[in-house]
């Protein structure tokens, strides 16, 4: 296909066929092991834009009439103008400008994109495809270059509803893992361009996946958490966790809440409270055993580290980060520490660093180095033989490639997991889990199938490869993923491929492994119950 085909009406621009997907290792080396991507119903196709690849992630409703269609195009152009002006897009203009102007289209970045490679190299997923479409629209409709120049610069493209709607969906086929940017010798960041397209849709057109916006940042600011947990429910959850800890370790631990002047305000992704309470319990057990002066907050937003704004909307990013910092300030804590959540690390510690000023500029850190220091200090007695099963580490892109936190988690695993093994590639060169940039929580129609079959495929391949010598279901294996969204994606990926049944590969966080190795616990902390 040609780039300009994106604006030509058709049932489906690209068809994802099983035979095109990259092969998986044993026991998924036979086609019947691949569940495939569910077809949308005729009603869904009728209602939403699905002509890109037959998948719906955002759910852009089709226009009812010509006027609606024209308004849609006008809004898009208005947003696009703002995106390239310093008055309106100070937040990312410099890197965006560089990426739009200086890509030489050498295609070096192609091989690093998990979605493009896993899909069998479908043109629309190529990391340079979206930027090229955007560049052409800017040249023709914003800069209004004349026809001859457009021909010479290869910038001819027809702007219409179909193109814009497909581009909106396409911005959600990139996990913004920025592996493409990592390999670019010119510093071009095609992941950022996906981010900026999402931003244009959200900040100007009011279009974003509901899981990120209405049920995400909006709900977080209104109710307290993107999970819907309000402060009252949090109180019940904490009580449940204290009971659960008592059941598991035989003694009760009081989880500190709203402790004024504590050393650390610990922020968890509230998804942990719902789906993996053992993670937050493990933090409490470790901090208690190590004598750390810490607290949770019971204030709305203060108990949920997530900030989905980092994926699609600078304004929502600023709102959530500001509220979290206000709560830390009011509690008088010395610093804020982020638990096992990759995007929250990036959003709060790094990106929000140029939003939080004055008394909101509170020190913000990762919890991983604290855990490393506790494990290495000998403050808690650890018995590695309790973790004597094959363990591998998934590197969350936000913490590792995008922040440089590479070693603390490895130092811990080398000390407490005798069968720790690295997947390839790893560290800053890792592959995204396939659920990055919000994908892990996007559950719209057949999108979860796409992220398991396509964007998460290379991660599954890596996991199967690293455990190939012990792939039999008789041997229990553990993928350590110190990030809530990565865990969510890995859970869905393993469910999709029945990996627990087929290979006994389990997943979980880092702190669970630390507590599992604690010598004074009577029974193992990790229960190997699939959930």
């Amino acid at each position: 296909m040609r780039i300009e085909d994106i604006s030509k009406e058709s049932d489906q621009l690209v068809k994802i066929e099983q035979k095109d997907l990259i092969p998986l290792p044993y026991p998924y080396d036979k086609p019947d092991k691949d569940p495939g991507i569910r077809e949308l119903s005729p009603e869904q196709k009728e209602r939403y834009e699905a002509s890109l690849d037959g998948v719906v992630g955002v759910g852009i409703p089709k226009p009812k009439n010509k006027a609606e269609e024209e308004m849609f195009v006008r809004k898009f152009l208005s947003g696009l103008s703002k995106l390239i002006e310093k008055e309106n897009n100070w937040t990312f203009l410099k890197p965006l400008y560089h990426s739009l102007e200086y890509c030489v289209k050498c295609q070096i970045c192609n091989d690093s994109c998990p979605a493009y490679v896993a899909s069998g190299r479908k043109e629309i997923y190529r990391p340079t495809f979206r930027p090229e479409v955007l560049r052409r629209i800017i040249d023709k409709y914003i800069k209004k270059k004349n026809k001859a120049i457009l021909k010479l610069t290869g910038s001819d493209i027809e702007l219409n509803w179909t193109l814009i709607a497909r581009l909106g969906e396409l911005a959600y086929r990139c996990t913004i893992c920025r592996k493409c940017a990592q390999v670019c010798p010119l510093g071009v960041d095609n992941g950022l361009i996906s981010h900026e397209i999402r931003k244009l849709f959200s900040q100007e057109m009011g279009i974003a996946p509901k899981e990120l916006h209405e049920q995400g940042t909006v709900q977080q600011l209104r109710v307290g958490s993107s999970t819907g947990i309000n402060p009252k429910a949090l109180g019940n959850i904490i009580e449940f966790m204290e009971d659960d800890i008592e059941d598991k370790i035989g003694r009760r631990i009081k989880i500190p809440v709203d402790k004024k002047g504590a050393e650390i305000l610990l922020l968890h992704n509230a998804g942990e409270f719902m789906s993996w309470p053992e993670n937050t319990e493990a933090f409490a057990i470790i901090f208690d055993a190590a004598g750390i002066d810490w607290t949770l907050s019971s204030e709305a937003v203060g108990y949920d580290a997530v900030n989905y704004g980092v994926w699609y909307d600078d304004i929502q990013l600023a709102r959530v980060a500001t509220r979290q910092a206000e709560i830390a300030r009011d509690l008088g804590v010395k610093k804020m520490n982020v638990g096992e959540c990759g995007h929250a690390h990036k959003a709060m510690i790094v990106v929000a660093d140029r939003v939080l000023i004055g008394d909101l500029n509170i020190p913000r850190e990762s919890a991983l180095p604290i855990l490393r220091d506790i494990v290495m200090s000998g403050k808690i007695k650890l018995d590695p033989s309790r973790n004597n099963f094959p363990v591998t580490l998934h590197d969350p892109c936000n913490m590792v490639r995008l922040m440089g936190i590479v070693e603390p988690q490895r130092e811990i695993l080398r000390k407490i997991c005798p069968q720790f093994r690295e997947m390839e590639p790893h560290g800053v060169d890792n592959y995204c889990c396939g659920g990055g940039s919000g994908f892990a929580i996007m559950q719209s129609m057949n999108f979860p199938d796409w992220r398991s079959a396509v964007s998460g495929r290379i991660k599954l391949k890596q996991i199967l490869e690293v455990f190939q010598d012990v792939i039999s279901p008789d041997v229990k294996k553990y993928v350590c993923a110190p990030c809530s969204n990565c865990k969510g994606q890995i859970r869905d990926l393993f469910n999709y491929y029945s990996t627990w049944n087929e290979c006994s590969i389990f997943y979980g966080g880092l702190v669970e492994l630390i507590v599992n190795a604690m010598a004074d616990l009577e029974k193992p902390f990790i229960e190997w119950e699939w959930h």
């Binding site: 310093k86 203009l93 790094v350 060169d429």
Partner: protein
């Protein structure tokens, strides 16, 4: 014709300096942006950047001389050897590398010719005659640079053009202007080569042309040299329309974005810049944004 070529050359140099200068000014005037760094190698990630509170000794370790030197070295290595391209495709790399030798060689060759012209004008009583007498290392350097850059320009650009044509993924994304660029580069190199081979083995004529420009007395040029000067001027005017300025702008991308980890220290320059920019009014118009609010107001607005 002589006056035309001299004026065209003046214009071409002024144009490229002005165009590139305006790009640098545009970059420099861009507002502060949100942090968006990236670790390009595990080596670069080794300093424990986010393990300590911002603005403490550990955070500052990221900005230590060792860290900067490590990044500067990887940056320089990319300039000198193109390792990213080499690991991607050896065939592409070899033509790209040769073409860049041709390009950089052509720039240095011209600077040398202009420098020789200016120097000769300043120190010699009869500069037009003096140029024929310039001998020694300057002429050898001029000839060597000229021959290497022209030969590399021909081989590298033909190779790149064929590579782009033959690879669907590259062809699809390559605009006609890029192919025109290859043709111009091949043309300059070919004409330059023929100029050396057939009429001006020491490139004295080219230096003399520049002396004429310096003295504002255009000299008569003809044949291969005339065509060479014409194509070269065209090439200079063409360059600002390409991404070729990545030679300079990539430094902004790496040091100014991907490796920019300067923490926002209380009372520091970043905080001042952020405080200032947070006073900007937001013009985005989605339903969740109240019109007319500043960034500071919107950040504290819980709706």
């Amino acid at each position: 014709m002589d006056i035309f070529l001299a004026l065209l050359t003046f214009f071409a140099y002024a144009f490229i300096v002005g165009a590139y200068g305006s790009k640098v000014v545009k970059y420099a005037r861009m507002p502060i942006h949100l942090r968006w760094e990236l670790f390009t190698s595990t080596e670069a990630a080794k300093p424990r950047c986010y393990e300590g509170p911002p603005a403490t000794s550990e955070q500052r370790a990221c900005q230590s001389n060792k860290w900067w030197l490590s990044n500067a070295w990887s940056f320089l290595r990319e300039y000198l050897w193109f390792p990213s391209y080499l690991s991607h495709s050896k065939v592409y790399w070899i033509f790209l590398y040769i073409a860049h030798i041709g390009f950089v060689g052509l720039i240095i060759f011209q600077l040398l010719c202009i420098g020789t012209a200016v120097g000769t004008y300043i120190i010699a009583d009869h500069p037009f005659d003096a140029v024929d007498k310039t001998t020694g290392i300057l002429v050898v350097l001029r000839m060597t640079l000229g021959i290497i850059s022209f030969a590399s320009g021909i081989i590298g650009n033909i190779g790149l053009m064929l590579y782009r044509i033959n690879h669907q993924s590259l062809r699809l994304y390559t605009p006609p202007l890029t192919f025109i660029g290859y043709c111009v580069s091949i043309g300059i190199s070919l004409i330059g080569f023929l100029l050396w081979l057939m009429s001006d083995p020491r490139f004295s004529g080219y230096v003399t042309f520049f002396i004429g420009m310096v003295r504002l007395q255009p000299v008569k040029v003809s044949g291969w040299l005339g065509v060479f000067i014409l194509l070269n001027a065209f090439h200079l005017i063409y360059l600002p329309f390409t991404p070729g300025f990545h030679y300079v702008t990539r430094a902004f991308a790496f040091f100014g974005v991907q490796w920019d980890m300067r923490p926002n220290v209380k009372g520091g320059t970043i905080e001042k810049a952020v405080t200032q920019i947070m006073k900007k009014r937001i013009t985005w118009s989605a339903p969740h944004i109240k019109p007319g609010q500043t960034w500071e107001e919107v950040a504290k607005d819980k709706n």
